[in-house]
C-alpha cells in the first residue's frame, strides 16, 4: 500500500525538503491517497446512487452537475494535502502545493474513472458524463 502511494505521488520527484521524506512516505502519502479515494467514492455514491437513484432526483444529473461534483472533489483533494502536511508539522516547502495540485489531478482522474462504473448503478445519471 505504502509503495503504491509512494509511486503515485513521487511522479513529481522526491518530497521536499529531503529531511521530511520519511514522514511523507510513511504517513502523508498513504493518508492523502486513502482519503482521496474515499472521498471520491463518497461523492460518487452521493451523486449516482443517493441523488440520482434513491432520492429520485432527476434534474441533477447533467454533465454540468457532474462537473460540479468533480470540482468539489478536486478542491477537497487539494485541501486535504495542505491539512495533512500541516497536521504532521513538517517543514513548510513549496513542494506541498505541487503535491496538493497532483492530488487534485488524481482526484479528478479517479472521479472520472470510477464514474464509468457507478453510472451503471444509477437511474437518472446512467449516461453522465457521457
Amino acid at each position: 500500500m505504502k509503495g503504491f502511494f509512494r509511486a503515485l505521488y513521487e511522479v513529481i520527484g522526491s518530497p521536499q525538503p529531503s529531511s521530511e521524506v520519511p514522514v511523507y512516505r510513511e504517513v502523508i502519502f498513504p493518508n492523502i491517497g486513502l482519503l482521496n479515494i474515499g472521498i471520491t467514492l463518497a461523492l460518487l455514491v452521493l451523486f449516482y446512487l443517493v441523488i440520482n437513484r434513491w432520492m429520485r432526483v432527476a434534474t441533477f444529473s447533467r454533465p454540468s452537475h457532474w462537473s460540479i461534483m468533480l470540482l468539489v472533489n478536486v478542491i477537497i483533494a487539494f485541501i486535504i494535502v495542505i491539512a495533512q502536511v500541516k497536521g504532521q508539522n513538517v517543514v513548510e516547502h513549496s513542494y506541498m502545493y505541487w503535491l496538493a495540485l497532483l492530488n487534485a489531478i488524481y482526484a479528478a482522474l479517479f472521479f472520472f474513472l470510477f464514474s464509468l462504473v457507478f453510472r451503471k448503478l444509477s437511474v437518472n445519471a446512467s449516461t453522465t458524463p457521457f
Binding site: R56, A58, S61, V123, N124, S126, T127
Partner: protein, 480 residues
C-alpha cells in the same frame, strides 16, 4: 379483421372525425374492430375543416404505421384509407380519406343538364329548386340545401369507391354515419347512403353482408348559429325548420339502422357565415367530441346487445350540469371514465413534448438518441405536427374546444404546472411530494426506459410516454 367504415358527411362529418382521431390518438379504446376506415364525403374540396381533418388523419396514419398494432397506448387504433385495406386492381380508388367527386366544378343547373331537359322536366326542376339552387356552383358543396345534395349524392353509389367499399365489406364489419341534419350535405347524404347500402336490390357486391351489418349513425341537430348577413345563402334561423322537416323524413326512411344518436345544443356566439371553401373553418365544439363518443359507444355494444330490440336503439346525451364551461365533473360518470384519463394523458404528453423533451439530456433521451431524431427523423416531425400544428394539432384542438360556446374546458391550458392542468382538480403537493413535476416525469421516464425493450426509438418513446403519463394519472390524479 373487423372494420368500422365511418362515413363522415359534410362539414360536421369532418369535424367529428377530427375529434374521434384525437380520442383514438389519446388511446381511447374502440372495441369490436381492428381498423377504422373513414370516408369523408364532402363535395367542397376546399373546405378548411375537411382539409385539416384529412391532414390530421394522414399524420395519424403515418404514426400508427410506424408503431404497429398494440394492446394499449397512444395511436393504438389502426386508421386506414379505403384503398389501403385491400389491393385495388383497377387503381380507380385514390389513396385518400376523402371521397373523390372528380371536381364537380359546374353549377347545379349544368349538373342536371337543365338546358337539354324536356319542358315538363324543366317545370318540375323549377318547382323543386330555387334559382339560387340552380345557379350555385357545386364546388363549395350544397350550401345548406339538402334538395340539391339528394340529387348529387345519389350518384355516389355508382362510384368506384363505393364498389371498392362493397367488394371489401366482410361479415363482422360495421358502418357508422356522421352527419348534421340542419345543413345540406349531411342531411341529404346520410339517408341516401343508408338507403343505397341497405337496398335489397342493390348492385353492390356483398349485399347480404351490407344489409346485415350493424349500422349506427349520429345525427347532429343545430348546435351553432351563423351571423345574419344580407345576401348570405345560409340563414341559421332556418336550422330548426330544416331539422324538423328532416326528422319527419327520417322517421320512416332509415331502413336497416340499428342505433341512432341525437345530439344538439343551444347555439351561443354565432360563427362567421361561410357557406364553404377555405373560409369554413369552425372551432372544435364539445358536440363534435360527444358525437365522436357516440361512435365509441356504438362500438362498445355487441351484436346481441344491439339487435336485442326490434328496431333501432335511440340515444340522447345529457350533461350532469347545464353549464357554459364544461369540465370533467360536469360529464356523466360513464363519459368521464371513457375520456378523462386518456385526454389528460394526451395533454401531459403534448405539454412535456413541447416544454421539455427538446432539451432533455437524461438517460432516456440519450438512449433514444432523441435530440438527433427530433431534428432529422421524419416520423418525429410528424409527431410534432400532430401535437402542435396550429392548424390541426392536439394543442389547437384543445384550445378551440375551450374557446367555443359552449366550451369544453377540462384543462387549464395557460399553465405550465402539470399539477394545475386539470380544472378543479389540482394534484395534491406537500413537503415530501411535489406532485407531477418535471422531476417526477423525468425520473419515471428514466426508470421506465430501462424496462421497455424495443429497438425502435419512436415506438419506445410513445410507449414510454403512455406508461409514464398513465402512472402519473393513477398515482397523483387518481380520479377526476
Amino acid at each position: 379483421m373487423a372494420k368500422l367504415f365511418l362515413f363522415g358527411i359534410g362539414g360536421t362529418g369532418s369535424r367529428v372525425v377530427r375529434s374521434l382521431t384525437m380520442l383514438l390518438a389519446a388511446g381511447v379504446d374502440l372495441p369490436n374492430c381492428q381498423q377504422v376506415v373513414p370516408i369523408i364525403i364532402d363535395p367542397d374540396a376546399q373546405n378548411a375543416d375537411m382539409n385539416r381533418t384529412v391532414q390530421l388523419l394522414q399524420t395519424y396514419q403515418q404514426i400508427h404505421k410506424r408503431l404497429g398494432p398494440r394492446e394499449e397506448g397512444f395511436f393504438k387504433t389502426d386508421i386506414s384509407t379505403l384503398s389501403s385495406i385491400s389491393q385495388d386492381v383497377n387503381g380507380s380508388v385514390k389513396d385518400t380519406f376523402v371521397f373523390d367527386f372528380g371536381g364537380i366544378n359546374r353549377s347545379f343547373r349544368d349538373y342536371l343538364g337543365y338546358n337539354n331537359l324536356p319542358v315538363e322536366s324543366k317545370a318540375l326542376v323549377e318547382a323543386l329548386f330555387t334559382q339560387d339552387n340552380l345557379e350555385s356552383p357545386l364546388t363549395i358543396g350544397f350550401r345548406g340545401s339538402p334538395n340539391v345534395g339528394s340529387v348529387v349524392l345519389n350518384r355516389i353509389v355508382e362510384s368506384p369507391e363505393m364498389r371498392f367499399f362493397a367488394d371489401n365489406f366482410q361479415q363482422d364489419d360495421r358502418v357508422f354515419f356522421i352527419s348534421s341534419i340542419f345543413g345540406g350535405t349531411g342531411a341529404s347524404g346520410f339517408p341516401l347512403l343508408l338507403k343505397n347500402l341497405k337496398d335489397p336490390n342493390t348492385r353492390l357486391s356483398n349485399s347480404r353482408y351490407l344489409r346485415d351489418a350493424l349500422t349506427g349513425a349520429v345525427t347532429v341537430m343545430p348546435y351553432f348559429a351563423l351571423q345574419s348577413e344580407d345576401n348570405q345563402v345560409i340563414d341559421s334561423n332556418n336550422f330548426l325548420t330544416k331539422t324538423k322537416a328532416a326528422l319527419g323524413y327520417y322517421e320512416n326512411h332509415l331502413p336497416g339502422l340499428d342505433a341512432l344518436y341525437y345530439l344538439a345544443d343551444t347555439p351561443d356566439t354565432p360563427y362567421d357565415n361561410q357557406p364553404g371553401g377555405t373560409g369554413q373553418r369552425n372551432k372544435a365544439h364539445i358536440i363534435e367530441l360527444l358525437a365522436a363518443l357516440s361512435i365509441v359507444d356504438f362500438m362498445s355494444y355487441s351484436a346481441g346487445d344491439i339487435r336485442s330490440n326490434n328496431g333501432p336503439l335511440f340515444h340522447e346525451f345529457g350533461l350532469e350540469t347545464d353549464t357554459p364551461d364544461v369540465q370533467f365533473q360536469h360529464l356523466p360518470t360513464e363519459t368521464k371514465e371513457q375520456v378523462a384519463q386518456n385526454l389528460t394523458q394526451l395533454l401531459y404528453f403534448s405539454r412535456y413534448h413541447k416544454q421539455h423533451m427538446g432539451s432533455d439530456e437524461a438517460p432516456y433521451a440519450k438512449n433514444l438518441n432523441l435530440q438527433y431524431a427530433q431534428k432529422n427523423e421524419p416520423i418525429f416531425r410528424q409527431l410534432e405536427q400532430f401535437l402542435h400544428s396550429p392548424d390541426f394539432g392536439v394543442d389547437a384542438w384543445l384550445t378551440e374546444l375551450s374557446q367555443n360556446r359552449r366550451s369544453f374546458r377540462p384543462f387549464n391550458l395557460t399553465t405550465d404546472d402539470f399539477n394545475l392542468m386539470i380544472q378543479g382538480k389540482p394534484v395534491e403537493t406537500g413537503f415530501f411530494s411535489k406532485g407531477i413535476s418535471r422531476n417526477y416525469l423525468l425520473d419515471a421516464l428514466n426508470t421506465r426506459e430501462k424496462k421497455v425493450q424495443d429497438a425502435d426509438n419512436f415506438r419506445k418513446l410513445i410507449t414510454l410516454m403512455y406508461d409514464v403519463t398513465d402512472e402519473a394519472f393513477r398515482d397523483k390524479v387518481k380520479v377526476v
